[in-house]
């Protein structure tokens, strides 16, 4: 039962990073100067994200619900010790969702308000992505101390430091990288395609640099990431494969195989998440007082059973509809010229 739930959390996290992450990344991409391609880029991002962003965002809610129903101690511990980063994340989520929607649905499309929406959308995407990384990094640092009531040690130290920040930057780079790769396939405009490819290459480089920074910054942590990774043969394999896949990625880019590039880029992110999971499993959180394992803090069996039923039955509805959504908007993309405007 617990394994099924861990599976659902892992799958939701994965889909949130891949799908939701690329939506964040699109916002980050829009922050960069685009010159005369600005408007066209905005249109492509509107069209690519518009139909799916609310659904992509649902994976986060799913994780929250599974945690608070199935693993309430983990949920309350995180919401208490990481209160501030969670709040920061929420502010970002509120601003970016509404700014993105308002930009598209504002009845009067003026340059000035449009650019305000774009800036808000971009900055809040960057902001939220960074805080997501900080939260992820803070889970396993062994600093959270549930008994402390002292401002610094209880509410700030758990997420403060170079290491969480470097993971935040890393997540920003990954999201922007994913978005650039995905966006290449969303447009038929050669100039835009070139721009997204160039961005993908840049962010590809930045992902590697930021990844290196994460390893360096982790030297100050209780256990450095480099040591932890070297200890585990599976993780060595994961890092090596993820890096090697860059070669495959750019090979497919050169061959203009849009779908394959998307698959490979997603595969790299999957590998990173697997590496992260293997490092700490089955502990969800590592606190100053020791680890919180999914297996040890799970809710009573009656609750878990209901949760699993809800998730399985829900999946029967969600996955087919989700497939339909993506088939309509992503797989059967009609040529750009006869695409009806979304609002007719």
């Amino acid at each position: 039962m617990i394994d099924i739930l861990i599976g659902f959390i892992a799958a939701s996290l994965l889909l949130y990073v891949l799908l939701g992450g690329s939506d964040f990344g699109a916002g980050i991409v829009e922050l960069l100067p685009a010159g005369r391609l600005r408007e066209a880029q905005k249109e492509i991002i509107n069209r690519a994200m518009g139909p799916v962003w609310e659904a992509n965002h649902m994976w986060l809610i799913l994780i929250v619900v599974i945690l608070f129903m199935g693993f309430p101690i983990i949920f309350t511990t995180l919401m208490t010790a990481l209160h501030l980063p969670m709040l920061a994340l929420l502010v970002g989520i509120v601003v970016r969702g509404t700014a993105f929607t308002f930009r598209h649905y504002d009845a009067v499309q003026e340059a000035r308000t449009q650019s305000i929406y774009t800036w808000l959308f971009g900055l809040s995407s960057l902001w939220s992505a960074c805080w997501l990384g900080i939260i992820a990094a803070s889970l396993n640092r062994g600093i959270m101390d549930p008994s402390s009531r002292e401002v610094w040690s209880a509410w700030i130290a758990p997420w403060w430091g170079l290491y969480p920040l470097s993971v935040g930057v890393f997540v920003v780079c990954i999201y922007a990288f994913l978005a650039s790769i995905y966006l290449v396939g969303e447009t038929d405009d050669p100039a835009l395609k070139r721009r997204f490819l160039r961005l993908a290459a840049w962010f590809n480089g930045l992902v590697i640099v930021a990844g290196g920074l994460v390893f360096l910054a982790s030297a100050n942590e209780q256990e450095s990431l480099a040591k932890a990774f070297l200890r585990n043969p599976l993780n060595r394999g994961v890092v090596a494969t993820a890096t090697l896949l860059f070669v495959a990625l750019w090979f497919f880019v050169a061959k203009r195989r849009t779908m394959l590039t998307r698959v490979v880029a997603s595969g790299q992110v999957v590998l990173i998440l697997i590496g992260w999971y293997v490092l700490y499993a089955p502990n969800a959180v590592i606190m100053a007082t020791g680890p919180l394992s999914f297996y040890e803090v799970a809710a009573p069996p009656a609750t878990l059973r209901q949760l699993v039923i809800a998730l399985l039955v829900g999946s029967l509805f969600i996955f087919p509809s989700l497939f339909y959504l993506f088939r309509i908007f992503k797989l059967s993309r009609r040529p750009a010229e006869d695409q009806p405007r979304s609002d007719l």
């Binding site: 199935g70 969670m86 509809s321």
Partner: protein, 432 residues
């Protein structure tokens, strides 16, 4: 501001904000689908225009509802870890179903908003309807979770912890039906009248009269029907509160002394110090009759409740009076609407009355939530766990509150401004 007060203010404000957009998000797609259906049946272009107009409104308001709902799912833990730690495993079930329903809603809205000309028109229509239907279902689940806080069930409370958890019994607790019914009707009522009010106003001012009259008619069918049904649902809920939460009922009515043939007090202000009602109009025996279907039934007063377990009487009573007063007024408006529709004549004074009622449904809905939530105090799980024992240990909640206040107030202002631009754009297009 005390940490507990700040946390409660944050929760109240987040919920009060979200509930408006949640109500719109689950009912307006129904109006939209009704208009869309009429377009597909009649091919009357005005209905298509109306569908698209409402669709844009739905898109904007849905986004605000979705993000503010996300905030709430976090706030449960950010503000009330002591509650979630116990309650999560017990009432997580309606939340997990709510999550499923909301997921479907989010998928359906993507399909509907961007699916024009891409699907079979009737499939497309169905996706729009799905937004409303799954929204409605998810609303019922969320209210079921809230109702559990009022009538906890499905566990044994042993030495400060829940044992023998039964999530199904918790979900179908004794309050889920009347709370859900009352709330879903309130959503239809509030949104129906607000939408009708806006279109009545545009119609009266001579803007695109044909379009606005069609809009008014669709919205009023929902709003008026719900307004007529609501007093019955409200009465049903009142009887249940009398049975399960006597302290709340006593606060609602400002009923200090346990008595038989208890009077119903209309208006008035309760004075907690002297334990008396001031300036109210009393109708002898009516409270006994309404609460227990017997003129001579005994109605428990606040004197039977230990002082520390009293909810804030003044707030609950005033909120309740506001809700009932508006509910009565709206029921009358609903009845008149069907009367005038039957006679095929809508007098202008009545349309002005509809305009005047536009915000009232939302006021009543907020007041109703104040009654439920403030009336539950000092408990977060009624008779089990006190709110003050569930609050987060994180200090400085007043900053959290202020941040959210500023964020949401700005968001509300921008939303209103956007809707006003939306309406103006449509009216300009149609002349007048």
């Amino acid at each position: 501001m005390d940490n507990l007060v700040a946390a409660r203010a944050t929760m109240a404000f987040s919920l009060g904000f979200h509930i408006i957009f949640a109500a719109i998000g689950m009912t307006m797609p129904l109006f939209m689908s009704a208009a869309h259906w009429r377009y597909l049946k009649t091919k009357d272009a005005a209905y298509l225009e109306l569908t698209k107009m409402w669709m844009k409104g739905v898109a904007i308001l849905f986004a605000v509802g979705a993000v503010s709902g996300t905030v709430l799912s976090f706030e449960l833990g950010l503000l009330w870890p002591g509650f979630m730690q116990h309650a999560g495993p017990i009432i997580g079930m309606p939340f997990s179903w709510e999550g499923t329903a909301f997921f479907i809603e989010a998928i359906a809205i993507g399909l509907f908003l961007y699916g024009w000309n891409r699907m079979n028109p009737w499939v497309h229509w169905a996706t729009g309807l799905m937004v409303g239907v799954s929204g409605f279902i998810s609303g019922i689940f969320v209210v079921a979770a809230n109702s559990w806080m009022n009538t906890p069930a499905g566990f044994d409370w042993v030495e400060g912890a829940a044992r023998n958890i039964d999530p199904v019994a918790a979900m179908f607790n004794r309050a889920w039906l009347h709370e859900s019914l009352h709330m879903q009707l309130a959503a239809l009522q509030a949104v129906g009248l607000a939408v009708a009010g806006i279109h009545a106003w545009l119609y009266l001012r001579g803007r695109a009269p044909d379009l606005n009259l069609k809009a008014l008619r669709i919205a009023m069918v929902f709003g008026a029907a719900a307004s007529l049904a609501q007093p019955f649902a409200g009465h049903f809920a009142g009887e249940k509160v009398a049975e399960f939460q006597p302290a709340k009922l006593a606060a609602m009515e400002g009923h200090f002394v346990t008595s038989r043939r208890a009077p119903l007090t209309i208006g008035g202000l309760p004075d907690v110090e002297t334990r008396t009602m001031k300036w109210g109009v009393e109708i002898p025996g009516l409270l006994s009759l309404l609460a227990h279907r017997d003129l001579n039934a005994e109605v428990i007063g606040l004197d039977q409740i230990p002082r520390e377990n009293w909810p804030p009487v003044l707030i609950v009573h005033v909120a309740f009076q506001v809700m009932v007063c508006i509910g009565t007024l709206l029921a009358a408006v609903g009845a008149l609407w069907f009367w005038f529709r039957r006679n095929n004549h809508l007098p202008r004074w009545f349309l002005w009355a509809v305009v005047g009622c536009a915000p009232l449904g939302f006021v009543a809905m907020e007041a109703g939530w104040v009654v439920t939530e403030v009336g539950r105090q000092p408990w977060i799980i009624y008779d089990i766990l006190r709110t003050k024992d569930a609050v987060t240990p994180v200090p400085g909640m007043v900053y959290h509150f202020s941040l959210l206040l500023v964020l949401y107030l700005s968001l509300a202002a921008v939303t209103v401004w956007l809707l006003q631009r939306q309406i103006r754009a449509v009216q300009t297009k149609f002349g007048g």
